[in-house]
Symmetry: C2
Subunit: 157 residues, 2 copies
DNA sequence: CATAACATTCAAGTTAAGTTGAAGGTCAAC
DNA sequence: GTTGACCTTCAACTTAACTTGAATGTTATG
């Protein structure tokens, strides 16, 4: 496979593939007698792996240290630990967002069932009070402050 | 809270926090009469969120479009869809690595129980044959090629 | 009241991850 | 045998995400 064909297969540009080679991500690349680079199928998979790893936040340098290189292939301990770290990062974000979503839904629900004798601002303040009270204790304290302006602004939505 | 105190709380540098403000990630930042920036607790949470999001591969631009800004708070649809995409990216990587690990363990196991009348190279070829045969059909074809050099090199480990 | 440790803006420098372009060699087709 | 689509190297440019530095103002401490 030439570099152009590999580029089409992977959706990457030729220059990008040459760049990865230069960065040591592809090891020794074979050449045809005319000097053209030539690739086997495995490079397709390798490039796809690199792309996916990049998408989830690994730098090329990180990827390089985890890739099979010469006789020292995958370092499974390093690899699993770094992957676990990344997964836990994702989980933190997911948890944070799930919490946010729940709060926002609570706020919205509170607004829907507002007693009609209260005006909008008063009602918002009432709901805000409920949320701040119920939130104390089971949430990181900082988050309480964070959500105040969401609660006070929500009436405009 | 001054910018220096916020920096200590979050582990970020002051310059980085000013940079995030300039990029529109922090919205309007309040100032003391002397011109000093002043922050509330919510900014701590916001900066932690930004940092986590960055760690799992979001660009500042992506983060900015997902953050509460003025009256348009979290865009839940955009947010969940982009998060699901990122999670699916992680899952692709996990699956790929799980497969890799399984294959490598198979190869190692095969080497351990090698019939003693075969020499090392012959044995490796034998195992390689097994793997390539068993692998066809239930794996992406490209992966088959990818693992060849791992199999042939494994004897040196 | 001076001096250190903060804060401000603004411009320029840095690193990672590429892209673009010039100058040229190779190859398949007409 | 030349035209066009490939390939080569090498150097310079770009963008994102910051950092560093210069020049300057402010505030707490001995």
């Amino acid at each position: 496979m030439t570099i152009g064909q590999l580029a089409k297969r992977t959706g990457l540009t030729s220059s990008r593939i040459r760049f990865y080679e230069e960065m040591g991500l592809l090891g020794e690349v074979e050449r045809k007698p005319n000097g053209y680079r030539t690739y086997s199928e495995e490079t397709v998979v390798l490039l796809e792996l690199i792309t996916v790893a990049q998408n989830v936040g690994f730098s090329l340098e990180e990827i390089r240290t985890l890739l099979p290189s010469g006789l020292n292939h995958w370092n499974h301990d390093a690899l699993t630990s770094v992957l676990l770290k990344k997964v836990s990062d994702i989980e933190v974000l997911e948890a944070e967002l799930a919490k946010s979503k729940g709060r926002l839904l609570d706020i919205i629900a509170g607004i829907q069932e507002k007693p009609s004798h209260l005006d909008c601002a008063d009602n918002t303040r009432r709901i805000l009070g409920q949320i701040l009270k119920s939130g104390v204790g089971d949430n990181p304290p900082a988050l309480t402050g964070f959500w105040q302006h969401v609660a006070t602004d929500s009436q405009q939505d």
